[in-house]
Subunit: 418 residues, 2 copies
């Protein structure tokens, strides 16, 4: 099926999704979860073909991301069941106003319509994203990376059966067949057919969407996150936070890439930092962090000199760029110039400095004395997440079911005119 035909079908199905009550949607989600488990053999066979084709062309980490087994399929099914258990975001009355003339004005949450999601090679994104979009009352069109396409097709076939079992239109969920760049470009410019496009992936994809899209887009997931260790920081706390933010999972978007250190403590802190995240980790058989140091940091500790792009790179690896700054204002200026607007933290015992940092730094999440790794829909109380928005419009930070909705005003009168 062509991409535009897929989108037209999703457009026809979106009305039924928007009108579906909570019970019907949840019944569909539970049936989708059961279908995933029932189809596990088919899904695993498709995944084996994907793995076979990918071998030799991608890294071991990528292969692991791509690989499914019985347990991972069950985990996907459980993820869908968790979405079924979340409250329905559609139909909430966000504000109610009764005017002197008797008009009742209700600001009411409604679905987005057709949500298109472009993502890369993790098969579980297929079921996660579909479950969230459908629970939020939208139809959903998925465009999966080439490497995971066979797996995604098998997963989508199971999920569509679940939709049908609850009497909802199968066309409310579709997978783009064409995995060339052409289909991504088609989604970006399908004005009137795509009500919201969510790119999930690397910087290249996000930039292409922001520059080329004529449909509404929410940018997600690029994180050049900073930790600023202030003069008044508890240095033990700072070590814990920097190690956690950098090393607990370097491949994710809320991992730290840059450490900014106040000049007055650089000579004391940086050698301890190196001992902690380079030497000690190596001694414990853990991957050590490569430090990329600006001139002032190089004077305090050994490491690689910082390269021209190192403050603008999402390493997603055991690499940390380090810069010495004169205080919170310079830290905030550096962040404004280099951050992707995802998550930043200050470590300080001084409340005034912390408040200045949280006021000056304009990112989706700004932390005082905590790791950036907490930026997550579950942690923030949203129950789940479709991605982490790094833009200002509509949704910022983790996007849960509520952020996947828009609203309309429903106004009830008795013949009022103006």
């Amino acid at each position: 099926m062509t991409t535009s035909e897929l989108l037209r079908r999703a457009q026809s199905a979106k009305r039924a999704m928007a009108l579906a009550d909570t019970q019907t949607k949840d019944r569909a989600l539970l049936a989708m979860a059961d279908a995933l488990e029932a189809d596990a053999p088919v899904i695993l066979a498709a995944n084996a073909l994907d793995l076979e084709a990918a071998k030799g062309t991608v890294s071991a980490v990528m292969l692991d991301r791509l690989a499914l087994d019985g347990q991972r399929v069950s985990a996907m099914a459980d993820g869908v069941r968790e979405v079924a258990a979340l409250p329905d975001p559609v139909g909430r009355v966000l504000r109610r106003e009764e005017r002197p003339n008797g008009l009742i004005i209700e600001k009411t949450a409604v679905p987005m319509g057709v949500v298109a999601i472009i993502y890369e090679s993790r098969p579980n994104v297929t079921s996660d994203a579909a479950a969230l979009a459908l629970k939020a009352g939208s139809a959903c069109v998925l465009r999966c990376g080439k490497q995971a396409h066979r797996s995604a097709a098998a997963i989508v076939a199971a999920l569509r059966r679940g939709l049908a079992a609850a009497g909802l239109p199968q066309d409310a969920l579709g997978l783009v067949e064409d995995v060339t760049r052409q289909s991504a470009a088609e989604l970006m410019t399908a004005a009137g057919l795509v009500d919201l496009l969510i790119p999930r992936g690397g910087t290249g994809l996000i930039r292409a969407c922001v520059e080329g899209a004529t449909v509404p887009v929410i940018e997600t997931g690029t994180g050049i996150c900073h930790i600023y260790v202030d003069r008044d920081a508890d240095l033990d706390m700072a070590l814990d936070i920097v190690e956690n933010a950098k090393c607990s999972r370097p491949s994710v978007c809320n991992a730290a890439e840059v450490c900014l250190v106040h000049r007055d403590i650089a000579a004391g802190f940086l050698p301890r930092l190196a001992q902690r995240i380079v030497d000690q980790r190596a001694a414990h058989g853990l991957p050590p962090v490569e430090l990329r140091l600006d001139d002032a940091a190089s004077a305090a500790v050994a490491g690689t000199p910082v390269g021209p792009d190192d403050f603008d790179t999402e390493f997603l690896d055991y690499v940390l760029a380090v810069k010495v700054v004169d205080g919170v204002d310079e830290a905030a200026r550096h962040i404004a110039a280099h951050s992707t607007g995802h998550s930043e933290a200050i470590v300080t015992a001084d409340g005034g400095t912390a408040r200045r940092f949280t006021a000056l730094v304009d990112s989706a999440a700004v932390y005082w004395n905590a790791s950036t790794r907490f930026t997550d829909g579950g942690v923030f109380g949203l129950g789940c997440e479709m991605g982490i928005s790094t833009q200002r419009l509509h949704a910022r930070g983790p996007m849960g079911l509520e952020e996947l909705c828009t609203y309309k005003y429903v106004v009830t009168g008795t013949g009022q005119v103006r």
Copy 2:
């Protein structure tokens, strides 16, 4: 000054605006209002030059929109004072979550940053838009239509003096000097310099922004609004609502352009409609409405046959396209295909039909038994409005001060790591 220099200055000033407390912003707004009144002679002299240059090139209606007098300048100043009296939208804690690990997560309203507004020839938009953007803690760059440019420059000069009087940076408000298309295109693509672009104007401008902008945009103000008169409508109420929605102010975006009539009542209703909005109005010396009728409507009443574009045109005039439909579902389908997503109404005594209409119709405001003319920030309880959004992302319908803000998560910890 070049447009990009203006934007860079606004970017530098946005931090001071974001940090300014309510009192300072309100003091600035009151000083801005006073400066407008003090500068009335200068503003009126500039306006006289604008009027002189526009004469002969634009319609009488346009000239009236462009014209200022002492009273209109005072009204502009009072508009700014009203914005000062509104609650500050910045810093509101929209949600607060205390996690089991002690993290305190506060979803906090923050300013957009630099808001650019492209508008046409009404001088009062200059002060209205500036006051709203500045109260919402943003810096503001205005790009006014050529015809009103001298007036706008005089108004902006007064407003900037008001900013300075309160100790805020004058560069937080700027007027683009270049009034060619080039500067509009420059604003649309000034990624990193424009945090939000709001086009206010005709369809051409809005379409250019949506298609060409690489900065975040909120579309406003195009309204092809529909009234559906159901089989179960109180026909007297329907006549009142259609006349009000069409005739009370045809030049505004919440005026109705299309009337959809249920087949079963078309023969009874349409002659009464023609009598009411054509014959009676003419008899009272009011501008009569020109009816543009589809085939079925033509069988019931006299009028012009509908042209190929009449269901896709914002007439902004005493013209009403009329179509006969088989019921609420066909009405909703027609609206989905032809509406700009602004405001639509159903007139019916049947609650079930009304609920189906409000569920099916996906526009910013959906009315049951009331005129579409109520779509307005003041009426909806927002206190004011920057424009009426017809898009789904971020803001829908009237945009007040809250809709001019975004949010960030401010997270306070005691050393938590994940």
